[in-house]
């Protein structure tokens, strides 16, 4: 059973407010190792510098968007197996299909509650302790 405290998660979103909100929600669930990045390019830098256990990324970002990041992660020798959860808006159905093809582990529709976020993470990582 994975322990939320031990899981190193990277939150990727260009909007600071949303990023902080996601961080607060993760902390509510029990996460303590939370890294942040503002876009795909920054996320890849962070991911290549330290081991990560989970990436939660927004889709809509400048520089490299969420789908681009997903593809970059899956193509990277070191981080290619890191679980990836994509944040989408409520209209972005097609995006989820594309993301599934690119190897996303799960998706999450914004806005979300702590319970839903936990559920989505548990679907990927197993029950959190």
């Amino acid at each position: 059973m994975p322990n939320a405290v031990a899981i190193k998660v990277l939150v990727v979103d260009d909007q600071n407010s949303v990023r902080q909100m996601t961080r607060m929600t993760l902390e509510e669930i029990g996460f303590r190792h939370i890294h942040e990045a503002e876009n795909g390019v920054q996320a890849m830098e962070t991911a290549s510098l330290q081991p990560l256990d989970l990436i939660i990324s927004d889709y809509n970002m400048p520089e490299m968007d969420g789908l681009g990041l997903l593809r970059a992660v899956r193509g990277h020798p070191v981080v290619r197996k890191v679980p990836f959860i994509l944040l989408t808006g409520r209209g972005d159905r097609e995006l989820v299909v594309k993301a599934a093809q690119a190897g996303v582990n799960n998706y999450l529709v914004k806005p979300f509650t702590a319970a839903i976020l936990r559920e989505k993470i548990e679907q990927v990582m197993g029950k959190l302790s």
């Binding site: 994975p2 031990a6 190193k8 260009d14 909007q15 600071n16 407010s17 949303v18 902080q20 909100m21 607060m24 902390e27 996460f31 303590r32 190792h33 939370i34 890294h35 942040e36 990045a37 503002e38 920054q42 830098e45 962070t46 510098l49 330290q50 081991p51 256990d53 927004d58 809509n60 970002m61 400048p62 070191v78 290619r80 197996k81 679980p83 808006g89 409520r90 209209g91 159905r93 989820v96 299909v97 599934a100 190897g103 996303v104 582990n105 799960n106 998706y107 529709v109 914004k110 806005p111 979300f112 839903i116 559920e119 989505k120 679907q123 990927v124 990582m125 197993g126």
Partner: protein
């Protein structure tokens, strides 16, 4: 940790940026600079507003942004054309979005039908595209956790079977420095090192450089620390686990160096083997000269990674930080107080007997230098680009041109020019007023413009730039300019100008800034309510700025605002007249001199003229003007300060003594005393006394308007007269 309210604040700040981006993008597209990037940027802006609004629960905002976004998405995909009509709707949508953001920010209730007109216009364009399928969703329902009917199965991973982590041998650079707390909690560093050794090939070197002599050694303090490498197939989490219980009680750096630097590893191996077991006993500093090898090298390569694994607090290097304005203001105030204390210190040092203060004066000089740099740094923190004011103008012009049925294009240049926040805040109203005037009175109706041989569409150009320690904002229009006959006639009717005065074109133009002047024949709903340019002028003067106006009949006019960069601290010249001390803004001083009596001529009808390198400069005796008397009598031993009163008008201010240049903190007196003619503000000097800061431009006006005898100055404008 940030509270929800703070996060909302951050969100609204982001909204302001996004709205600016939307506005700028749409304007670019309208001007024919459409590219995928601009459309994407606009889309992203609206999407960000929507996303954040959803998270923070501003439903009205989400609903509107959604329809807005849907239309933009169509444009982005190319299924919708950005025609001029579509762009008009998009621009109004950006205005509505901006209103919604403002209302949400202010916590005002939003009327149910707000923005419906624009919303249905958006919807209409979308429906024309594909029957409204995309926007038909019910936006007021809570976000679904899953898309209905979408065949998506979450892909679980098995963390225990971490194949990717296990298959490769990794190399970690480790720096481990226990703190005293760690020993106090009975955690034994050596135990940790033994645990680490179980994970793989461990090469550690004890750093004993900080080991004191035995007599100075405190038994409960750790002096030894370790650097080295671990080659292991264990995942990072396993290594972190070893240190789990001491994480706050030691400095720990674990950096994964995937390509283990072979040469350096050899070097470690070659170094005198300092077994961890030995290290617990006090050793002679044998290993000290050998620099810690692997860890710092890796750290230098990836500076961001150094603290990477330690805690959640470690974030990737951010380029900007948001700080509450209050906090910066507090620093600004403290810097102000520091400047005052420093001036007081300077005074004391100056009063010390000769020869005792040499070193002190030298240090004080350094303090002054650092204070100045500190002030500049803080001021640059408070500086904001003028774009925050400029961004409101396109909308204003758009609304006014619709109302007046004129065609107006707004060009903006230099929006990134930075100026102190306090100036920005007080720039909005005057600028709005000037732009209103330009559209209402300046730009002609399309038909009139065509008849005059001009482009049907009028242009207003708004620019900002730094010039000589000030920021210059210029508003130029290519409208009709000022009708000088009409202005002059009006001014004579109102008794603002005597019937026989002859005035130049520019002087006439400047009459419109006199109080109570308004020429608009019909009081329009937009401008011309009688409080016009005079209010603008006093607003600008209140913040230490100057306004000037140039008009060319039939070709348009230009209004120039020259503003100080800050309102908090300035460079001043301390002067003395009679028993009084005043401060003059250094920026207003051209030169100071002590003229010979023969250089001063008392012409009839003036206060005296100074002959200066072939020119005549009118003199103003400050002591007489402020009715405080002068120690030097009629100017024999006086100092003359040549000042620039704006628009090239020079005059010489006669004072008794110059006491030196210093930075002064500006303290407004308006709140307590109202506006005093000739006095801009007050300050506190090094000796703790209060001195007034002179308003040079107003002094000139005062001198000009006060009656003059034949070369003998009369007493005028008592200093304490409160307006």
């Amino acid at each position: 940790m940030a509270s929800l309210d703070q996060l909302k604040q951050t969100f609204f700040d982001e909204c302001d940026e996004a709205l600016q981006q939307i506005e700028a993008g749409l304007t670019d597209i309208r001007e024919g600079q459409q590219s995928d990037d601009t459309v994407n940027a606009v889309f992203r802006g609206v999407h960000s507003v929507k996303g954040g609004a959803g998270i923070f629960g501003f439903e009205a905002l989400v609903g509107f942004a959604h329809v807005f976004e849907t239309l933009l998405d169509g444009v982005r995909r190319g299924s919708l054309k950005a025609t001029s009509d579509t762009l008009d709707v998009l621009l109004s949508a950006s205005d509505v979005l901006s209103d919604l953001v403002q209302m949400s920010r202010a916590g005002k209730p939003i009327a149910a039908g707000f923005g419906n007109e624009v919303r249905s216009a958006l919807q209409q364009i979308i429906d024309g595209d594909k029957g409204g399928a995309a926007a038909a969703e019910d936006d007021n329902s809570p976000a679904p956790a899953d898309f209905d009917g979408l065949d998506f199965k979450p892909v679980p991973v098995n963390l225990d079977d971490d194949a990717s982590a296990a298959d490769a041998l990794r190399c970690y650079a480790i720096t481990f420095r226990p703190k005293a707390e760690m020993l106090k909690k009975a955690n034994e560093p050596l135990y940790l090192i033994r645990e680490l050794r179980k994970l793989g090939e461990l090469e550690l070197m004890a750093q004993t450089g900080e080991m004191p002599a035995l007599s100075e050694m405190e038994p409960d303090r750790p002096y030894i620390w370790w650097t080295g490498t671990l080659q292991s197939s264990a995942p990072r989490a396993k290594i972190d686990e070893v240190f789990e219980f001491v994480i706050g009680d030691c400095d720990l750096e674990i950096v994964e160096t995937n390509a283990a630097p072979v040469a350096e590893l050899v070097e470690i191996a070659d170094a005198p083997p300092t077994a961890p077991q030995e290290a617990s006993a006090p050793l002679p500093p044998r290993a000290t000269p050998v620099a810690p090898v692997a860890a710092p090298a890796a750290a230098a390569e990836h500076p961001e990674a150094v603290s990477g694994g330690r805690s959640a607090a470690a974030k990737p290097a951010a380029t900007t930080t948001r700080i509450e304005l209050e906090r910066i203001d507090r620093v600004v105030n403290m810097v102000g107080e520091l400047v005052i204390s420093q001036a007081m210190l300077g005074q004391i040092v100056q009063d010390l007997p000769e020869g005792t203060s040499g070193r002190l004066a030298q240090i004080l000089e350094e303090v002054i230098h650092h204070t100045r740099e500190l002030k500049d740094s803080v001021m640059s923190m408070r500086a904001q680009p003028v774009s925050s004011v400029f961004q409101r103008m396109p909308r204003l012009v758009r609304e006014l041109s619709t109302k007046t049925e004129k065609k107006v294009r707004l060009e903006m240049v230099g929006e990134t020019t930075e100026v102190d926040r306090s100036i920005i805040e007080r720039l909005g109203d005057p600028l709005t007023h000037i732009i209103r005037n330009s559209v209402d009175h300046g730009i002609e109706l399309p038909a009139d413009r065509l008849a005059a041989g001009k482009n049907e569409e009028g242009t207003i150009r708004l620019s900002a730039e730094h010039r000589g320690g000030r920021i210059v904002i210029q508003i130029t229009d290519d409208g009709a300019g000022i009708n000088s006959e009409r202005v002059l006639k009006k001014a004579r009717e109102k008794g603002l100008v005597s019937a026989d005065a002859t005035l130049s074109e520019d002087e006439i133009a400047n009459l419109i800034m006199l109080a109570g002047f308004s020429t608009a024949e019909t009081v329009s709903d937009i401008s011309g309510r009688g409080v016009g340019m005079d209010v603008v002028r006093s607003n600008i003067q209140d913040i230490g700025g100057r306004i000037s106006l140039k008009s060319e009949r039939g070709r348009g006019m230009t209004i120039q605002l020259a503003l100080p960069l800050t309102l908090a601290v300035m460079d001043g010249m301390v002067i003395k007249v009679g028993q009084q001390t005043y401060v003059m803004p250094l920026s207003a001083i051209v030169e100071c001199l002590r003229p010979a009596r023969t250089d001063i001529s008392n012409l009839i009808g003036t206060r005296g003229m100074l002959q200066l390198r072939g020119d005549f400069v009118p003199l103003i005796h400050l002591g007489d003007l402020l009715d405080i008397g002068s120690a030097a009598g009629d100017g024999g031993e006086s100092v003359v300060i040549i000042t620039d009163a704006g628009e090239g008008a020079r005059f010489g201010l006669v004072v008794d003594e110059l006491c030196g240049h210093q930075q002064v903190v500006i303290k407004s007196i308006e709140e307590s005393y109202g506006s005093v003619p000739g006095i801009a503000a007050a300050t506190i000097l090094g000796n703790g006394r209060v001195a007034f800061i002179l308003d040079v431009e107003k002094l000139n006006d005062l001198a000009v308007s006060s009656p003059v005898g034949a070369g003998i100055p009369t007493k005028a404008a008592p200093v304490a007269k409160v307006a």
